[in-house]
């Protein structure tokens, strides 16, 4: 998944898009400017975090608390916007200028770091400190594992993708949330007749579109379909279940299931969220972090109980278990292999005592997030958002299969090809078969 932030406008272009930059940009050697970096012995450990409230405040506070408690081992934190961060950290790592603590989404990107020998193998460290590992949700470790070795520590929150809906809009047309794909398609007609968009979608961000395919693939063909793709099996995108999912998706686009102009709406600006809480759209498929954004931006939408949420409905005749979900099993922190021994020591101390300390766990829960820590049930139940938090906790912990978001699970090369083809699929410029052919060509990349 690409976003956990409330706002991540693309100022990246400021750094890269200079007229003379054509040649320079491709060169890709422009490292970070002074903020991060290796540094000499005795240097502070460095850490880059994502900006955007409410998450930003929690990340900053965690570092502040650690620094206050450990006067001799300090962490210097620098904030970046989401898209800028993704490019910048990749470039910095390639240039040997990575921060000590490398934050990310695990999966394919982490694999590319590990393959290049840029992040430390933490398997033995976890073995020496079993308490750290046993405290976290077991499902969160899959995306931190590369070829049987652990390269990152799960942190922050578990974020399955949820079908949000606006109860007021449903009441106004006297409809019920969909319990099957057939009902969902029927609702599309109902809402379009009332001039309400059935689904909000920030289609320019592309990973937003991908969430639809993740669920349709699972519900129709079961998690095995994407497992085969992930494992690099030949022609696995041409699986009949995959083709059916792609066809159903295009049926939904053709039936005007998504709001007019969805392909120019970005998730960065939270315009897709605004469409839901202003009642212009009835439903939205989005990551669970959306709850916090709607709480912050949506006036009394959340506090007034107008927000509805449920799992993606089953598809008639499909193989996937309705309890299956997809999303971000956690976020991840790795330690740069290029950091000095002192920096690594501070980093490990932070992983041990700083990450998901009790105060941080409380802060996540207060913003509608479920931390990847075991045994938080009572805290979740006591929260003002108990209903949502328990729903997320149950969705994550009771899922028969918790698939990682495709763009994070796959290698960056395959992920970019995927997102590119998905946007064309939603534009209806590619048929399901052409989509499958294009994607089969990049399997294993």
């Amino acid at each position: 998944m690409a976003s956990t932030t409330t706002s991540r406008r693309t100022f990246l272009s400021l750094a890269l898009g200079l007229p003379a930059g054509a040649a320079l940009a491709a060169c890709g050697t422009s490292g970070p400017s002074g903020t991060g970096g290796g540094g000499g012995p005795g240097a502070n450990a460095s850490y880059w975090y994502l900006t955007g409230q409410p998450q930003e405040g929690i990340r900053v506070d965690a570092v502040k608390r650690f620094n206050a408690a450990n006067p001799s081992s300090q962490i210097t934190a620098t904030g970046f916007q989401n898209d800028a961060f993704k490019t910048k950290i990749k470039t910095a790592i390639g240039a040997g200028q990575a921060p000590t603590l490398i934050w990310g989404w695990g999966g394919g990107t982490l694999r590319s770091y590990a393959k290049a020998g840029q992040v430390d193998d933490l398997t033995s460290w976890f073995a020496e400190n079993p308490a750290i590992k046993s405290r976290l949700l077991p499902t969160s470790f899959d995306a931190a594992t590369v070829d049987g070795k652990l390269y990152a520590m799960p942190c922050e929150t578990v974020q399955p993708i949820v079908l949000f809906y606006n109860k007021k809009v449903f009441d106004s047309v006297g409809a019920q949330p969909p319990q099957s794909w057939g009902e969902l398609m029927a609702l599309v007609t109902t809402f379009n007749n009332k001039n309400i968009a059935p689904f909000s979608l920030g289609g320019q961000s592309r990973w937003t579109n991908m969430m639809w395919l993740e669920f349709l693939f699972d519900r129709i063909g079961g998690p095995e379909v994407f497992h085969a793709i992930f494992a690099g099996e030949k022609n696995s995108w041409s699986n009949p279940g995959a083709i059916e999912a792609l066809t159903k998706l295009q049926d939904l686009v053709k039936a005007n299931g998504f709001i007019k102009g969805f392909s120019s709406i970005t998730a960065d600006s939270n315009a897709d969220q605004a469409l839901l809480y202003t009642g212009r759209a009835a439903m939205m498929l989005h990551g669970s972090w959306s709850y916090g954004i709607q709480q912050t931006n949506g006036g009394d939408f959340v506090s007034g109980g107008s927000i509805g949420f449920q799992s993606f409905p089953p598809v008639e005749g499909g193989k996937g278990d309705p309890s299956n979900t997809v999303g971000n099993p956690a976020q991840y922190i790795s330690i740069s292999a290029k950091a000095s021994a002192d920096e690594k020591k501070i980093a490990k101390q932070y992983l041990t005592t700083g990450v998901l300390a009790d105060d941080e766990v409380k802060a996540w829960i207060a913003t509608g997030g479920v931390p990847v820590v075991q045994g938080t049930d009572s805290q979740l139940a006591a929260s003002k958002d108990a209903k949502f938090l328990q729903f997320i906790y149950n969705t994550a912990s009771k899922a028969k299969a918790f698939g990682q978001s495709w763009d994070q699970a796959l290698s960056p090369t395959a992920a970019e090809a995927l997102l590119d083809n998905i946007s064309k699929l939603f534009q209806l410029t590619l048929s399901p078969q052409q989509f499958a052919d294009n994607m089969n060509a990049v399997i294993g990349q």
Binding site: R9, T10, F11, L12, S13, L14, L16, G17, L18, P19, A20, G21, A22, A23, L24, A25, A26, C27, G28, T29, T87, K90, T91, I93, G94, S112, Y113, K115, A116, G117, Q118, G203, Q204, I259, K260, G261, F262, S263, S264, I265, T266, S269, A271, A274, L275, R280, S411, P412, T413, A415, E416, A417, D420, S423, K424, Q427, T429
Partner: protein, 297 residues
């Protein structure tokens, strides 16, 4: 300054070019060589660089994405030239007048030029939003199109915004050009009974020949590197409707981690740019920097 004087001074003042030369080598030539070398390698930006021969070149040249990106780049170039040149020319002529209100207006017209491309793109994106933008706010159905979501419209919007941003700059060039035209030519034309329109086509336009070539070169070569504006406005979408060459390069290099193919595109970009600049110089005659002005030459 006469041509003879210029060349006489060139020798003694050659060292003045040294700072520019250092920058050009450091930020132009060296990266260019680097990109050329990278285009023959495979590199994900993280690990080791491996020599890969012509793999990246064959991959990019066989990819249907390349002719498409070239076509989109050409469209943006041609359409933005067609939109900008007449408007800048007319504005430039208008602003060249010495009336005070025209000086006031020229300050206003200059505003888009001092805004950053990212800020312009974000502003237009907000204004053109189909649900929360200008059209929806004012309830004008003509304005509430899916501006950035329909392939044809999105390309049109890109051309419009590019033109909006750069017309002031080119107007400024034309304004300077028009002011260089000796008054005596117009006085003679008036005596011969030529009207305003006739004067424009028979004196202003021919006298601006080299200004037009200079401005066109800047527009055409500059449009090859439009990146920031399009990146923020449409990110190359919808689909790949506005994916110009520079954006294609960025996506391959920094999003798909394929530095080899991205470098191939960079090399192609440089070659296309050089070719265009050469062609434009040919069109303008061998010495485009020579003055055509009588008396002042």
């Amino acid at each position: 300054m006469s041509a003879a004087e210029t060349s006489a001074r060139r020798g003694s003042l050659g060292w003045l070019a040294v700072p520019a030369l250092v920058f050009f080598v450091g930020f132009g030539v060296i990266p260019l060589v680097g990109v050329l070398l990278l285009s023959f390698t495979s590199w994900d930006g993280l690990g080791d660089i491996h020599f890969a021969g012509l793999t990246s070149w064959t991959a990019v040249l066989a990819d249907p994405g390349l002719p498409h990106a070239l076509w989109v780049t050409f469209l943006v170039m041609a359409l933005s030239w067609l939109a900008q040149t007449p408007i800048s020319l007319l504005l430039g002529v208008f602003l060249a007048g010495s009336q005070r209100y025209r000086a006031m207006l020229s300050v206003l017209y200059f505003v888009p030029l001092v805004l950053s491309s990212a800020a312009i793109a974000i502003t237009y994106k907000a204004l053109l939003d189909p649900n929360f933008g200008l059209g929806a706010g004012l309830r004008i159905s003509l304005l509430s199109q899916d501006w950035l979501g329909e392939p044809g419209l999105a390309l049109g919007v890109v051309v419009f915004v590019v033109s909006w941003q750069f017309i002031p700059f080119h107007s400024l060039i034309y304004q300077g050009g028009v002011r260089q035209i000796p008054r005596s030519l117009y006085e003679a034309a008036e005596l011969d009974g030529a009207g305003r329109v006739r004067q424009f086509f028979s004196i202003t336009l021919p006298q601006l020949k080299y200004t037009i070539i200079t401005s066109s070169t800047l527009m055409v070569v500059g449009s090859l590197t439009f990146f920031d504006l399009i990146f923020v406005l449409t990110a190359g979408g919808p689909g790949d409707a506005t994916r110009v060459l520079a954006l294609d390069m960025y996506k391959r290099g920094f999003q798909a981690n394929l530095m080899g193919p991205a470098s191939v595109i960079a090399v192609i970009l440089v070659l296309v740019g050089l070719a265009l600049a050469l062609v434009l110089r040919r069109v303008g005659g061998r010495d485009a920097s020579a003055s055509q002005l009588d008396g002042a030459a």
